[in-house]
């Protein structure tokens, strides 16, 4: 059982907007900034968003993150076929003194 809760799957068609949620508690999302990763099959996790909304160079602007209270979300606008992947949320947990991850959301681009 992951510390952060994500829906196991979602889907969308090219061009659509998709939002992936992540919920936690006051000791993690409620106290710290969010990180999001993309993992394609057979690949390592890749940093998409850090500190709630910062994108590393090379990550398209159609990926955005937000946080409110003990929940966070990743939004992908203008969905593309290459976005077909699993997305993980993560943050630091002050009680566990460790980073914690969501269980991952498998995004299928139809």
């Amino acid at each position: 059982q992951s510390v952060l809760t994500q829906p196991p799957s979602t889907s969308g068609t090219p061009g659509q907007r998709v939002t992936i949620s992540c919920s936690g508690r006051s000791s993690n999302i409620g106290s710290n900034t969010m990180t999001w990763y993309q993992q394609v099959p057979g690949g390592a996790p890749k940093l998409l968003i850090s500190r709630n909304s910062q994108r590393p160079s090379g990550v398209p602007a159609r990926f955005s993150g937000s946080q409110s209270g003990t929940s966070a979300s990743l939004t992908i606008r203008g969905l593309q076929s290459e976005d077909d992947a699993t997305y993980y949320c993560a943050t630091w947990d002050d009680s566990l003194n460790a980073p914690v991850f969501g269980g991952g959301t498998k995004l299928t681009v139809l």
Binding site: S2, N32, T33, T35, A44, P45, K46, L47, S50, P56, Y88, A90, T91, W92, N97, A98, P99, V100, F101, G102, G103, G104
Partner: protein, 116 residues
């Protein structure tokens, strides 16, 4: 460019020992924590712990304390994860990743697949 390059896949028998490596480049290796993350087949990400190569300060997740040993050699920009007696349940992909002390990992290695 930050790069973390891990050692290759390993196939071992139960009871054998193993040490895998993670070599960093493109940044001050000694000045950032290196975390280790396990991903079992088809499963999610589990943080195992982290080491600060500058002084080898090490923090383990309670789930992995006593099961593995993390070490680092800052002179060659390399971190290590080792087992003294592998079990079949240790079969997984292991990632090293650069991280801040109170942040999730940012830059990831390509992973080392361990099969026991």
């Amino acid at each position: 460019e930050v790069q973390l390059v891990q050692s290759g896949a390993e196939v071992k028998k139960p009871g054998e020992s193993l040490k895998i490596s993670c070599k960093g480049s493109g940044y001050n290796f000694a000045g950032y924590w290196i975390g280790w993350v396990r991903q079992m087949p088809g499963k999610d990400l589990e943080w195992m712990g982290m080491i600060y190569p500058g002084d080898s300060d090490t923090r383990y997740s309670p789930s992995f304390q006593g099961q593995v040993t993390m070490s680092a050699d800052k002179s060659i920009n390399t971190a290590y994860l080792q087992w003294t007696s592998l079990k079949a349940s240790d079969s997984a992909m292991y990632y090293c990743a650069r991280q801040g002390q109170w942040e999730p990992p940012s830059d990831w290695g390509q992973g080392t697949l361990v099969s026991v």
